[in-house]
Symmetry: C3
Subunit: 161 residues, 3 copies
Amino acid sequence: MIEQQDKATIVVFSGDLDKVIACFNIALAAAAMGMPVKMYFTFWGLNVLKKDRGRIKSKGLMRNMLNMLNRGGVSRLHLSKFHMAGMGTWMMKKMMKEKNVLGIPEAIKLAKEMGVEFYACTTTLGIMAISKEDLIPGVDGYVGAATFVQEARESKLALFI
Amino acid sequence: MIEQQDKATIVVFSGDLDKVIACFNIALAAAAMGMPVKMYFTFWGLNVLKKDRGRIKSKGLMRNMLNMLNRGGVSRLHLSKFHMAGMGTWMMKKMMKEKNVLGIPEAIKLAKEMGVEFYACTTTLGIMAISKEDLIPGVDGYVGAATFVQEARESKLALFI
Amino acid sequence: MIEQQDKATIVVFSGDLDKVIACFNIALAAAAMGMPVKMYFTFWGLNVLKKDRGRIKSKGLMRNMLNMLNRGGVSRLHLSKFHMAGMGTWMMKKMMKEKNVLGIPEAIKLAKEMGVEFYACTTTLGIMAISKEDLIPGVDGYVGAATFVQEARESKLALFI
């Protein structure tokens, strides 16, 4: 019998700015309480880990198209609602600054400083044509669903966002 | 070591009618089984707690624009798919009535009667320019992510919806 | 006091191809590790269980309209982003094949072979005008939210996707 430990495991599936903010708010709160925290980035969540500048050049037309459509990088995350060609997202970011809520780049930096571990899903990296070189430093490992399940069932807090 | 208790903790992130229905179905089922239930409303989920009538008047242009775009109130929740300028949402509500499924206003009332506790996220209230006066009665508290994490890790059931 | 068991309970709320892939990746990984797995299909997730061919004919105009709008069936699941009239979804499926990632029909087959149990939510079947005859074989039961809550609070891993 596996004993559950006081740790937090979060799947970051979404690349929507609002959901990513929620992921980091929860992750940082858990880390501040002394819980070991692991974040598993998959599908659109991988955009959080994509390097922000430059366009990814891959081999093959489809790979290039996928990366053109889905450029990723923290500065390109959108709200899930009211993005409105950037205006809604811009207003939200402005309100965050006014209310001293951390932006995603700052939240990533703080999370790494607090020991939050980042994992990228190998399966979705493959089908979204993203290579390890396209990701920011700070990724602690490349894993599949089995590693997530093993970790999540041992965690007192496991969320899919 | 914290022992997990037989209670349920639900983050209501979404303001989509279908997801909010799912939140209340789960919350009410858990409450009916005798589990203490806490619902944490954040981001678009705060629209469930927004007063239904009248327009929110805030100080400043951006605050007013945010509240105009995102009016909230239970009568304005939309389906995540097939809203179709209101027709899909209207059809779903009609089917709910026909099948004796509780609408959100009735679900809120029943939840409060059964002792389900409602919490509003202070951080997102701030960045969405919503003040406490804009919310319906029945909110049991205003808390941050740390309070949610503390509660969720002690709960046998914790969901993010 | 209920002791949590080493089993997995997943609510499949979404009918988006990408989220359904995530559901099955997690379910199959858990099953491969020997965990009993139960999947609860509700709302748009019911489209995964809808028969793929033929149009559902129901009594009444609204029922027919609902099933025409929301035809369902595994071959009609779309990406939550970049569907682009089918092109994005087609590209993703192509990448999945290239990377040997199981498509949904194959994942369903494998899940059933591994003993993963499928449950359909009776409440949402009702409000979406879907009858049991419209679903594929392999559904192990028709249940409400209470059955899910009972199962989820006893599971070491419970996710809402």
